[in-house]
Amino acid sequence: MSTPAEQFLRSAAEKSADLGHRQTIRRAIDTYDGATARGRARFLDWEAARERSQEIKWEAVNHLDQYLLEFEAKVKQRGGHVFWAETSADARSYIQDLAARRGVRKVVKSKSMITEEIHLNPALEASGIEVFETDLGEFIVQLRQEPPYHIVTPAMHLTRHDIAALFKEKLGTGDTSDPEELVAAARRVLRQAFFSAEMGISGANFLVADSGMIAITTNEGNGRLCTSVPRIHVAVAGIEKVVPRADDLAVLWPVLSTAGTGQALTCYNVLIGGPRAPGEVDGPEEFHVVLLDNGRSELLADAEQRDVLQCIRCGACLNACPVYRTIGGHAYGTTYQGPIGSVLTPHLRGIKEFQHLSSASSLCGACTATCPVKIDLHHHLLHNRRNAVETANRSWLERVGFKLWRWTVVDARRFATMGALARAGLRLTNGLGLAGTWLDPARAWTKDRAALEVPHKSFRALWRERRGGA
């Protein structure tokens, strides 16, 4: 069985050579770029908004225990339940047990990356529960039995024709690729699910400490139906999602909307603080919040990279990243893709297996420049590379190679000698017609490209000739 690194390299090579795929992604991200440019222009001072958002999340993350306790106390006052899950398995068990005790047979879900992280759907389905993803993009990838392709736009990689063919096969729709008709078809199916499900499961964009409410941002309205119609509502959230005050949302809501989709505000920004209260017309009888650690407390202990926990999952760094734009979301093989995923995944799933993601970057810094909460993403990729060298087992070849490199570059004579040897070796390889074969030491480059042109003289020799002196 291949390793995650081998799978990544294979998928990345395939996807980057798939020009149709690249065109689909490019069209989607070009649309996003236009919308977010217009969205940022609505701010008098977008940089000030980024700084304010960073301050709010910094305060929350650096007082995480206090704000979580305040949040928990307020939720309980409102009649809700709070469960602290150390691992994905703890979170799954809590929800499975609750569903079993309440006789739940059908669940509707609103889009939530954290339920992907804990692999909730397969666990519920193994318990005999029917699970409906109700966000259109999530519904589409669920029908295709695929993970979401993007944090915000799960079906970004599909054309309307792909979706039309899928709906025709799975839902029995006619021959239409009209987006309005496709949306209407999904609505018809999901409408029945909303009104017959016993449990709704959502994520949370924010946990508001001073109010004991969760905040959910959605455009379609599916998140509202999931949290309003079924008799039980379960919200799953990472512990880092807490913010101190409801007033902070006056900044974070427009910033999230702008960075996520370019909208001034997403259509529905909802605050939910418990089950249906006495005297209210409707709403669930039970409200549960599952707070998930799953490696986040270890990341919190890393003061250098603590700001990664400030992430609001807007997806802006994915869209900005030249690597994501070329290889797409599925090639990463992780729940969270793109720069934030490459930084976060080694912390959540182990640096040994996922250290390769730190190198899936040109270090151009576009992710850091666009991040609305100013996470130092590209430097964290470097930090992870350093940590991987220090803690993960790197190959003996790499270790010997770098030792040799260090031994060479600290001495001018050695450097000149090794340079001459390398040039001679490459000339020989090229001369024998071995370029790009397994016997070519530069195969990593030449397997997909023309052989390197090897200069006859070194840079130092040319310098001496043209400028004189040593």
Binding site: F43, L44, D45, A48, A49, R52, Q54, W58, N62, H63, D65, L68, F83, W84, D135, L136, T153, L158, I163, L182, V183, R187, R191, F195, S211, M213, N219, E220, G221, R224, L225, T227, S228, I239, A246, D247, L249, A250, V251, W253, T261, A264, L265, C267, Y268, N269, V270, L271, I272, G273, A277, E280, V281, G283, E286, D293, S297, E298, L300, A303
Partner: protein, 217 residues
């Protein structure tokens, strides 16, 4: 319900406390607080502009009687069937104009039926800067603003606030978050762009949101 055992709680909290013993560098404070958004000039004009941009219909009327008539006129264009109305004195007083062959389900009778043709509610506030409507569970319940294909919001000019910051401050004073299990800021009609980033209105929530805004309190 008895709380299940949760030994993880103390362990997580202990790890968090321990983790925070090492301080992280604080972002540099930028000195004086800079203004994020330009001030809103004429709130009504801005609200109308923003509504037009986000696909909310905004009907400005002279008074309550005109508001009731405006709702009636739009209702006349909708398919036959039950409508759902928030049970308040204000809307009860207007409802006689809307019953033209339709049955009304009042919020005091329960939440809206899935088959409702339209819902009519009040709002906690309107936001000029973004063309938004703030509703709470007290505005006819959670389903009242999402279940039907058309949602009418009957409001008055006194409810129009300039921006989101002002709305949060005002609602904090009034205790809206504390009194309600559910609050929603609605900005436009339900939509999706999940297919090739093409905008489609009316995904799962209302395709039409109609604000009927009376200039008289």
């Amino acid at each position: 319900m008895a709380e299940p055992d949760n030994p993880g709680r103390e362990r997580i909290l202990a790890r968090l406390k321990n983790a925070l013993l090492a301080p992280a560098p604080q972002p540099e404070a930028g000195g004086e607080r800079r203004q994020l958004f330009a001030a809103v000039g004429d709130p009504l004009q801005r609200f109308q502009q923003e509504c037009a941009a986000n696909h909310t219909e905004c009907l400005v009327t002279a008074d309550r009687i005109a508001s009731a008539a405006a709702v009636r006129d739009v209702l006349a264009s909708l398919p036959p069937g039950e409508i759902f109305v928030e049970d308040t004195a204000r809307l009860r007083a207007m409802a006689s104009a809307w019953q033209d062959g339709r049955s009304i389900r009042w919020s005091s009778q329960g939440g809206p039926r899935e088959s409702s043709q339209a819902t009519i509610t009040t709002a906690e506030a309107l936001v000029a800067a973004t063309g938004s409507i703030l509703v709470s569970a007290a505005c006819g319940g959670r389903g009242a603003s999402v279940v039907a294909p058309v949602h009418f919001v009957v409001a008055t000019i006194g409810q129009l606030e300039s921006d989101l910051e002002t709305v949060f401050a005002e609602q904090r004073e009034r205790g809206t978050l504390a009194k309600n299990s559910y609050v929603c800021l609605i900005t436009g009609s339900s939509r999706t762009a999940d297919i090739e980033k093409i905008l489609v209105l009316g995904a799962h929530g209302p395709r039409r949101v109609v604000v009927v805004l009376s200039l008289e309190e």
